[in-house]
């Protein structure tokens, strides 16, 4: 380790400012309570030179972007099976973290013995796999939040937003229940996805069976048992069930590998789907083109692929609108 002060002596001017800005940033980030006096001192430092403020903004941006690493947080216990390809680089690349993950996972297993509630979430474009102590697997898709409450007697989850795949190890004595937007789904030995689109909840049954019932007050509760291939669409008042080929439902799970599979999908729907995974949005409002149909496999983060398809295959125009893109004829 260098002598204190030596680093600073070796720094160029920009480096020295970066170092000081990083110190301020860390002081603020880790402060239990950032007081008015603290902020005044920081503002005074900014006041000395615009270079201070800009260096701080630059590092703060990187610090905030680093928060995305939270999506890699260890699940309740280490996964035995292979992770989706998106996560693999991390597992291979950051060996040091495995020991940490194991230690924390141990703490996680302990906590399952007593009633324990945790909320897991993913940012836009994120993906998180959890393995529960009972062997059940849960995968969160982009921009999702799931509260999981486990005790020796109850298994309960609340989908606050987004989409989650549940692969539940059935236990008749302790069914696994998912609540979302006034709907309750109870597993009867199942693999299913639940997607909360605000007003509408969509449940796709891939294997086994599950029971769906509305829990809205004042409505009489109708329970519907779902079979593989069933896609239930439920609102506060209505429920519709349609049957899809299992192969289609499995294609819909492409998100687990960072992929979106479109098959005879309208341009508007494809854009909406891609938009779930990206901060930069694609707008398709021109009625002449919303119904154009496209097919193919896209990477979730590859907005350019869809824009290029629109340009090259359909001869459409793409223009920038603020942070977003609009496709027009």
């Amino acid at each position: 380790m260098n002598e204190p002060g030596l680093d600073e002596a070796l720094d160029g001017e920009a480096d020295a400012i970066d170092r000081a800005a990083a110190d301020w940033l860390l002081a603020k980030q880790f402060s239990e309570k950032w007081s008015i006096e603290n902020q005044a001192a920081l503002d005074a430092w900014f006041g000395e030179s615009d270079a201070h403020l800009l260096s701080y903004w630059r590092l703060e941006e990187v610090w905030n972007r680093s928060r995305r690493l939270k999506a890699l947080r260890s699940p309740m216990r280490p996964l035995q099976e292979s992770r989706p390809s998106r996560a693999r680089g991390y597992i291979v690349g950051v060996v040091g973290l495995v020991a940490v993950a194991t230690a924390l996972a141990f703490a996680g297993m302990q906590s399952v013995l007593t009633p324990d509630t945790k909320t897991y979430s993913t940012p836009i474009g994120g993906h998180l796999t959890l393995t529960l102590v009972d062997g059940s697997k849960i995968e969160l898709n982009t921009d999702s939040a799931l509260k999981v409450s486990l005790s020796p007697t109850d298994r309960f989850a609340t989908l606050e937003k987004g989409e989650v795949l549940f692969d539940i190890v059935h236990n008749a004595a302790h069914p696994f229940t998912v609540m979302t937007a006034g709907q309750r789904i109870t597993d009867l030995g199942t693999k299913f996805t639940v997607r909360n689109e605000g007003e509408v909840v969509r449940v796709s049954l891939i294997e086994g069976s599950a029971r769906l019932e509305s829990t809205n007050d004042g409505k009489k509760s109708r329970a519907t048992d779902l079979k593989p291939g069933d896609v239930a669409t439920a609102t506060a008042t209505d429920l519709a069930v349609r049957r899809e080929p299992i192969a289609q439902l499995k294609r819909d799970l492409g998100w687990r590998n960072g992929l979106l599979v479109f098959d005879n999908t309208t341009l508007a729907d494809a854009a909406a789907e891609l938009n779930r995974y990206n901060n930069t949005k694609i707008v398709v409002s021109d009625p002449q083109i919303t119904r154009l149909s496209i097919g193919g496999t896209f990477r979730q983060n590859d907005i350019m692929a869809l824009l290029n398809t629109a340009k090259q295959v359909f001869g459409l125009k793409v223009r920038r609108r603020g942070d977003n893109f609009e496709i027009t004829h």
Partner: protein, 196 residues
């Protein structure tokens, strides 16, 4: 395991507390449109400058000048404005830096903004943030990386990291400081790396 609520206290929303809305606009503009140009700007300065001042310092000078000019009005084309500012700075330095060798600026007359400078838009889109950050974090020195991941992935405080790694909180802070600057330089593709 650390409680998630501990992560919440360092939420990004707190950063704007003392900023006016004007400054928030400038902040958003600087982060979104100026910073993504840093790699091209650095390359441009490296190719055209042989003087005494470090390129990193010149980049910072360009930022300050661009920022100050933007306070009256944001430029229509940020890229054109940033490179015009860089060009003026080069000319200015040639005039004032006494020890500049004659070849300090190559072909000053030809310093036009390169047509193929990637705009911030494409850079933003090309960026799969999580994957890119992971890749850069893996390039860090092992100790910086460990500290960085213990905080950002596992949500540990400096104190908890210190206990786990058997180092002082001050050392944890130094590693975080170095790791953060390294990551910023990597993400913005600067060639320089901070010293320990």
């Amino acid at each position: 395991m650390t409680d998630t609520s501990e992560m919440d206290r360092d939420n990004p929303g707190a950063r704007g507390q003392s900023m006016t809305s004007r400054k928030l606009d400038l902040h958003a503009w600087f982060v979104r449109e100026v910073l993504p140009l840093e790699a091209s700007l650095t390359t441009y300065l490296q190719h055209n400058w042989r003087g005494q001042t470090a390129v990193a310092d010149m980049v910072q000078d360009v930022y300050v000048k661009v920022f100050q000019a933007a306070q009256s009005a944001l430029p229509e084309s940020t890229a054109a404005f940033v490179f015009a500012t860089a060009r003026n700075l080069l000319i200015d330095r040639v005039r004032h830096e006494k020890v500049v060798p004659l070849e300090a600026v190559e072909d000053l007359g030809a310093l036009e903004v390169a047509a193929d400078i990637p705009g911030p838009d494409e850079q933003v889109i090309a960026r799969d943030e999580l994957r890119q950050i992971q890749k850069m974090v893996e390039l860090m020195q092992p100790r910086w990386r460990e500290v960085f991941l213990l905080h950002h992935v596992e949500g540990l405080s400096r104190r908890e990291i210190g206990i786990r790694m058997g180092i002082s909180e001050i050392t944890v802070t130094r590693h975080l400081n170095s790791g953060l600057r390294f990551l910023a330089n990597k993400l913005y593709q600067k060639k320089r790396e901070p010293r320990q």
